[in-house]
């Protein structure tokens, strides 16, 4: 029996998804909705003098909203208060929203959008974060620095002198487009004194706060319903706050429901991307291979507004050395403003970038020392009780070395490596006979702390609620959105098991803020770990209550339990149970970005990838991928395994084909799915996924969170495989066929 064959609940809405009857926002019936659109800047930096409305167009047919129409604060609510909802006079990036238009139909809307001409006075723009730090072009604050996070442990600078070997490398990882298959979409309707929002999103309560502030109305007058959401991956974390605000402004002005559905090209050009990262890594080692000192510089291009950059930077800094031990570490991590559209959250959230640097750097260290890179890793991997650079000790049961061994075993890594080495040698000799294939195999370790970092997790104060019905069923009420990860299925299963009811007696639906408490955003792999643990807590209370009321020691039969719940509710007992997140240790309130106990637990992974390379054309094919994941208890194996497949393929795309091209104004030039190449089924091999989860350790009693983890391994594993095949180390992604065939040495970054 494979792991996926276990008797587990099926995805709750699987049938509706199959038949296309689970509505996405644009599937809602027309209901007289007007169509909303956005007038955008076509320059990267400058002053908006005015908007010129063509006299040839009959403007009485449509409604126009500019910054002057905003009744509340002209702001997209996020951490820094720097991003206006509509241009405030200064344009800071290509595609920045300048005004909004609503029209009775799509065709008229497009005519109207074309009839507006922004009159602008361009200013010099800066797209390179290192240029930006010189401060000649002012974008944010006085130095264009969104945030700097220094972390230091021991005395790295001094320690390098006593190292036998010092290795220094530079790395670059690129922007990545989320390419969720459903574009951003939102519908706003006036309701009572306020507004109702329905749409595609990850974080319903972010929209409540954002729309209330923008319209200057109480949060209780904003109701947000998340629809089935067609993929998110972090791209629907902060951006929907802006879009909901825009739809609400238009609905308020025209007095009708307004629907704003981005086209693919608008979505790609205007929404966030994964942060491009420049990483310098320097490591001092002993002759035997022990890591003695490390120095790391991480620079993220945040784009024109801060959005989630501080949070991404924090995670990058906290994971910068990977699962390795080192006593003397100095990290300087900076998120810098440029005139690119803002970059934001994307699955992995800073981790894929730093793991790429770490895992390719380690191979360079091994080469310099003349040792096996696998052995070098093994020698330096952390064990429970080892300290990370910011002070946290690796928790009990957390063994990166076990994950590594499992990966070596399952992928037959050493055997395959020897076979490939031999084959590559012979095929070199056969080059003249037309055999231009080289193979390579590589691996990479990765790790991901679950939830928001301790400071922010504490400040969210997540709450969940369970409410029993007169039929003896239990409603699970959380703000967690469903965008394909299986939220509804997994949370229902946790509730069913914790209460002792059948899965079919748990009721759960897409969140509607009129009904659910704020259990925090659906991000950071926190759904089953943090929110799941709150459901477990509330469920235990419910169970205890019912056992006391029914006077039974323990009810093991789900049907009897259901009957007991039903009679309790029918007898007038309200049977509502809540649980609120309370951190177990005292989080240092001053340390927002690198709190000592940053995450309650770390998920671990190891990826092994095998590639084949056509040395004539440079074409790179991934022929085999093994993903070994250790994410604590796995709630639903089938769903979790499929999450790993999906994440791994996003990682393959990031490594090989997903290349963003910029226009001269710093906007995305290849803003279409034909020009920006995400992998198709024919581009990727069968993937093998395995979980470490059935051991008797405490670690596997609770889920740690898995959503982001699988994205983080394939990039560096593929780069290391390519290095084996070509003898040259890729220092930047994506690895292109051009780089493979170019005859020079390793690419500089």
């Amino acid at each position: 029996m494979t792991q996926a064959d276990r008797n587990e609940p099926r995805r709750r809405n699987a049938s509706k998804l199959f038949y296309g009857t689970e509505p996405f926002v644009d599937d809602l019936p027309a209901q007289g909705d007007w169509h909303g659109g956005t007038v955008r800047s076509r320059i990267a930096h400058g002053r908006l003098i005015r908007l010129k409305f063509s006299p040839e167009f009959d403007w009485s047919q449509v409604v126009v909203v500019t910054a002057a129409d905003i009744p509340g604060k002209n702001l997209v609510v996020c951490h820094e208060e720097d991003q206006p909802s509509l241009c405030d006079g200064t344009i800071r990036h290509y595609g920045e929203p300048l005004a909004l238009i609503a029209a009775p139909d799509g065709e008229l809307l497009h005519k109207a959008l074309r009839a507006v001409e922004p009159v602008v006075e361009p200013l010099p723009a800066v797209f390179d974060p290192f240029e930006s730090l010189k401060g000649e072009t002012r974008i944010f604050g006085k130095d264009n620095l969104f945030l700097e996070i220094p972390i230091s442990k021991g005395h790295a600078a001094k320690q390098f002198a006593s190292c036998d070997v010092v290795v220094e490398t530079n790395h670059f990882t690129p922007a990545q487009e989320h390419a969720y298959l459903e574009t951003q979409g939102m519908r706003a309707t006036l309701e009572g004194n306020g507004v109702r929002i329905e749409g595609s999103m990850q974080c319903p309560y972010y929209l409540v706060a954002g729309v209330a502030r923008l319209l200057g109305i109480p949060e209780t007058d904003v109701r947000v319903s998340a629809m089935q959401t067609g993929g998110g991956f972090g791209g629907k974390e902060d951006f929907p706050t802006m879009l909901a605000g825009h739809a609400a402004l238009l609905a308020r002005k025209c007095g009708r429901p307004v629907r704003m559905i981005y086209s693919r090209s608008e979505d790609m050009a205007a929404t966030t991307k994964r942060h491009p990262a420049w990483i310098r890594r320097k490591t001092g080692l002993s002759r035997a291979g022990q890591f003695l000192a490390m120095e790391l510089d991480v620079v993220l291009d945040g784009g024109a507004y801060a959005t989630l950059s501080p949070f991404v930077l924090s995670r990058a800094a906290l994971h910068a050395v990977g699962p390795y031990r080192c006593d003397h570490v100095s990290i300087c991590a900076r998120a810098v403003a440029t005139n690119h559209p803002p970059n934001g959250g994307f699955r992995g959230f800073g981790c894929p970038q730093v793991h790429f640097a770490t895992e390719t750097h380690i191979e360079a260290c091994a080469e310099k020392l003349g040792v096996d890179p696998v052995e070098l890793r093994r020698m330096n991997l952390m064990k429970p009780g080892d300290a990370m650079p910011f002070g946290q000790l690796l928790g009990p049961g957390t063994y990166p070395g076990v994950v590594l061994d499992e990966a070596l075993h399952r992928s037959r890594f050493e055997e395959r490596r020897a076979e490939i080495e031999a084959k590559n040698r012979t095929s070199e000799r056969r080059t003249d006979s037309g055999d231009f294939e080289k193979r390579g195999i590589g691996l990479a370790m990765f790790m991901h702390g679950t939830g928001l970092n301790a400071y922010w997790e504490k400040s969210v104060r997540s709450r969940v609620r369970l409410a029993a019905t007169a039929e003896g069923q239990v409603c699970v009420l959380t703000a967690q959105a469903e965008f394909g990860q299986g939220t509804l299925t997994a949370l229902a299963k946790i509730a069913a098991e914790s209460i002792g009811l059948a899965d079919s007696d748990i009721l759960i639906d897409h969140p509607d803020t009129a009904l659910v408490p704020d259990s925090g955003p659906t991000v950071a792999s926190r759904t089953v770990s943090i929110v799941g643990s709150l459901i477990h807590e509330a469920a235990s209370r419910l169970r205890q209550h019912i056992e006391e009321r029914a006077g039974l020691a323990a009810i093991y039969d789900p049907r009897r339990l259901k009957a007991a719940i039903a009679s309790c509710v029918s007898g007038g007992d309200s049977m509502v149970f809540e649980a609120e997140y309370s951190p177990t240790d005292d989080t240092d309130d001053a340390n927002t970005w690198a709190p000592p106990n940053a995450y309650p637990a770390y998920a671990l992974g190891c990826c092994v990838a095998e590639v084949k390379i056509d040395t004539l054309t440079g074409e790179i094919g991934v022929v085999d991928v093994h993903m070994i994941c250790d994410a604590g208890a796995v709630v639903c194996h089938r769903l979790a395994t499929n999450q790993v497949f999906g994440g791994a393929v996003q990682g393959i795309g990031w490594a090989l084909t997903e290349k963003l091209a910029w226009n001269e104004s710093g906007g995305m030039r290849n803003a279409s799915l034909s020009d920006y190449a995400i992998p198709s089924a024919a581009d990727v091999p069968e993937i093998h996924a395995h979980f470490l989860d059935d051991q008797h350790s405490e670690r596997y009693r609770y889920p740690i969170g898995l959503g982001e983890l699988p994205m983080e391994g394939p990039g560096p594993a593929i780069a290391n495989a390519v290095a084996m095949a070509t003898g040259r180390r890729p220092r930047r992604l994506p690895i292109s066929p051009e780089w493979i065939v170019c005859s020079q040495g390793p690419e500089e970054s």
Partner: protein, 159 residues
């Protein structure tokens, strides 16, 4: 212009602009929303429906081209006691082939459109991947979809 077409077994006469896309006619004018719009340029296959029995991207087809055609959408298939569809449904459920689901109805239509061709031969995994090359899915990594299709074809070859 006036066009005549058969949609899910019903004769329809519509008055539409000649360049209006079939996907908009189906979704906006007729409320048939099972087919989704992923890209609007023939790249992702989310909008696939059957036109005269063949799966095609409805975002690429202007009204002028469908005059006199027989259109079947997933809504139509779902209510027609289609055994092959029911079997595919079972196989997709078993493998948890959908995640967000935005790509799935289009893939279902492609599978159904190729069914007569596929039933006579057992395509390999690599061939199935090739058959899916006109579809994009950002969630699943295709693995469960491919396994679901292989399972479906296995079921069909057993009497």
């Amino acid at each position: 212009m006036k066009i005549q077409m058969n949609v899910n077994g019903q004769e329809r006469i519509l008055d539409v602009p000649p360049l209006r896309r079939l996907i908009d006619i189906l979704r906006e004018d007729m409320g048939l929303v099972a087919a989704k719009i992923g890209c609007g340029e023939g790249e992702c296959g989310a909008c696939n429906v059957l036109v005269d029995g063949e799966a095609v991207s409805a975002c690429l087809i202007p009204a002028v081209q469908i005059d006199g055609c027989r259109i079947v959408t997933l809504e139509g298939l779902a209510t027609s006691n289609d055994d092959a569809l029911a079997a595919l449904h079972g196989a997709f459920l078993e493998h948890d082939a959908s995640q967000c689901g935005a790509c799935i109805p289009g893939i279902v239509m492609t599978c159904r459109g190729m069914f007569d061709d596929l039933r006579n031969r057992r395509p390999s995994e690599a061939e199935v991947r090739g058959l899916l090359a006109g579809h994009l899915c950002r969630c699943t990594g295709y693995e469960a979809i491919v396994r679901g299709i292989l399972k479906w074809l296995e079921m069909k070859s057993e009497p």
